[in-house]
Amino acid sequence: MMQHDNMGKERRVRRSPLNRIGNWLARNRDLVKAYVIFVVFTVVAFVALQTVWCTDHILQPLNSATAGGSAWLMGLFGTEADYFGSQILSETGSVNIAEGCNSAYATIIFLAGIFAFPTGWRQKLLGAILGTVALFVINLARVVTLVYLSGSNKGLFDEAHLYIWQFAIILIGGLLWLLWYDKIVSRRPTSKNL
């Protein structure tokens, strides 16, 4: 900031760090608000998922749905598969959908990215629904490939499990978000947040 002294010369005034931070926050209020929403949403949802109620009413049904959906998908490929609770039983290989194997946590992070972004609620809801469904389906594809690999190639199973699919989920999650922004948010007719 420049000020004039008695002689009329310009002099640079040093601002305190607190002032600078305050100014930065004021300039980036929308961004800070988005970060806060992202973090709070993620933390609250992760904590909520640890509760018994969520385990019984969300995670276990989701595990069963993942196992059932995967068995159904394998059936489409001509593999006889069944599921029992969260277990996928097949002639090719069998796996157990344990906690974290469903797409719940990835979905929460994705939803945090959707809800934190400053746009209208209609866009957010649309993105949340489509994104949740897309991640669930992608997770089914992931589980099915892993079931096949578990029965045929243990080494490749570990590679696919630890490296390939994790990258893929991150990449696909990012692309889904970009897709949501490009197709839904940026085409919004009026944006009061602009």
Partner: protein, 282 residues
């Protein structure tokens, strides 16, 4: 200059986020794998017994997996492991009883318990080897399940036996897979295992003291069809509920990187929209 380079709103910002999100977990994962390499299970056949050893003391301190041709006796196998432990790896190992090797004095601690497991290939419809795996740590629950054969039920009679002794009643193949599971549970129970059954799943918990006594022994569960056509009928499979390994969609680090990626994208587009709004206003 640097501030310009790293400033928000640059076109390469999301690209860097994407590349970083892709590169970091792979680098980290490969480093971790290099640090904590555990030999993978060699595919076995009926002619091989896959022996696995695991010293459990909270962390993986020693792990070995070898394949020995089936004529090798149990004593030879145990002695091989003791020699391996003492001579090649500097452990103090002694044999206790038929199946247990106790390793003491490792890293200042005592009481390391070493479990030895035997595995061989599951041959569907012909024989099922009941595993003695204790890998990975803490995962000692195995479940058998029965499924209907794709070709449908056929005439004939099926038997269940453990270690050559027929322990089940005759099983008509026209019966249900649920009955198979009941008979399997009964067969295992008669063989001295503590078994529980939940529908078509038969559970054996190796942490149960009765079952734990049997660690190191091998039981072969035979299941075959006589008469009728083509050995078809109900099949049994086995799930190592933990042995298969949970398959998390995202690990902790991957979740962090996914969050960073989304925050990066969000930041880029918030600032882009802000600049667009500014330019429109100007």
């Amino acid at each position: 200059m640097l501030r310009k380079f790293v400033g928000f709103g640059r076109v390469w910002w999301p690209i860097v986020s994407l590349v970083g999100a892709l590169m970091l977990p792979s680098t980290a994962a490969y480093c971790m794998e290099a640090l904590f390499t555990i030999p993978g299970m060699a595919p076995g056949t009926q002619n091989f017994i896959d022996i696995r050893m695991y010293a459990d003391h909270g962390n993986i301190d020693y792990y070995k997996s070898v394949s020995i041709t089936s004529p090798t006796t149990h004593d030879e196998v145990m002695n091989t492991f003791i020699n391996d432990l003492t001579i090649d790896h500097g452990f103090t190992a002694s044999r206790r009883g038929e199946n247990l090797i106790v390793v003491t004095g490792v890293l200042g601690s005592t009481g390391y318990q070493l479990t030895v497991s035997h595995e061989h290939e599951i041959a569907m419809g012909v024989g099922i080897a009941m595993q003695k795996a204790d890998y990975p740590s803490g995962c000692r629950i195995f479940e058998f399940y029965t499924t209907a054969w794709t070709g449908g039920w056929t005439d004939g009679t099926q038997y269940l036996s453990i270690n050559g002794t027929t322990v089940s009643a005759l099983l008509q193949t026209s019966e249900s897979i649920l009955l198979d599971a009941e008979l399997l549970a009964s067969a295992l129970s008669n063989a001295g295992f503590q078994v529980s059954r939940d529908g078509i799943l038969v559970h054996i918990d190796w942490d149960d003291p009765v079952n734990a006594e049997k660690i190191g022994q091998q039981a072969d569960v035979n299941f075959w069809t006589t008469g009728g056509g083509d050995n078809r009928g109900a099949r049994m499979g086995m799930v190592g509920t933990c042995g298969s390994g949970p398959i998390p969609t995202l690990s902790e680090w991957a979740m962090i990187l996914f969050s960073v990626l989304l925050l990066g994208l969000m930041t880029y587009y918030v600032i882009k929209r802000r600049r667009m709004a500014h330019s429109v206003a100007v």
